[in-house]
């Protein structure tokens, strides 16, 4: 079965420090991986997807099929990055569902 694991429930860093939010997945085929973010009192929204290979708000994520990982990274964290981050997986082949990880709450301290 498809599964997404985010090992850290909470992550706290200081402003300007690098941050890495871990995501591992379990799926034997060709996955589509996403990071969604939920800022305080806001709705869940897409941050980035691996297929577009883009950097959004300074965040990047590389799909590593060998390690089945899709870690989210930012070299210099900002206070406004504080939010709940969810890694999510979908796949080609007719399924319509996104499988989410449990989420990591990132706090960036001043």
């Amino acid at each position: 079965a498809q599964r997404v694991t985010q090992p850290e429930k909470l992550l706290s860093v200081f402003k300007g420090a690098p941050v890495e939010l871990k995501c591992n997945y379990s799926y034997s085929g060709s996955p589509e991986l996403f990071w969604y973010v939920q800022y305080s009192r806001q709705r869940l929204q897409l941050l980035l997807r691996h297929i577009s290979r883009e950097s959004i708000k300074g965040f990047t994520a590389d799909l590593n099929k060998g390690e089945t990982s899709f870690h989210l990274k930012k070299p210099f964290a900002q206070e406004e990055d504080s939010a709940m981050y969810y890694c999510a997986l979908s796949w080609q082949g007719g399924s319509e569902k996104l499988v989410f990880g449990k989420g990591t709450k990132l706090t960036v301290n001043p």
């Binding site: 709705r43 929204q45 897409l46 969810y86 979908s90 399924s95 319509e96 569902k97 996104l98 989410f100």
Partner: protein, 115 residues
């Protein structure tokens, strides 16, 4: 910027009562979804809807659940006889291309509390 809207934001109901959660997806989107998140747990897929029918549903989406698009704008989730374990945040989402390639746009959620 167009947004998915959900009503009510919070509903409290007695066990066994029927509940209808309403959603207005983004107007030109074709794919509609319901997800739920029990407090402290992960966001879980319930059902997807395309071309006026259910395209996929999870094992959570049993006979107590139904979805409907009664007109051109609303997308509703009905729970016929609520149970305590139905207490959760329910998220509606819509997409123009489907979630494999497109972005899901989520509503702010409807919090359901079953007493």
């Amino acid at each position: 910027e167009p947004e998915v809207t959900q009503t009510p934001s919070h509903q409290v109901t007695q066990m066994g009562q029927e509940v209808i959660l309403r959603c207005v997806p983004i107007s030109n989107h074709l794919y509609f979804y319901w997800y739920r998140q029990i407090l402290g747990q992960k966001v879980e897929f319930l059902v997807s809807f395309y071309n006026n029918e259910i395209s996929e549903k999870s094992e959570i989406f049993d006979d107590q659940f139904s979805v409907e698009r009664p007109d051109g704008s609303n997308f509703t989730l009905k729970i016929r006889s609520t149970k305590l374990e139905d207490s959760a945040m329910y998220f509606c989402a819509s997409s123009d291309l489907g979630q494999n390639t497109g972005e899901l746009f989520f509503g702010e959620g409807s919090r359901l509390t079953v007493l």
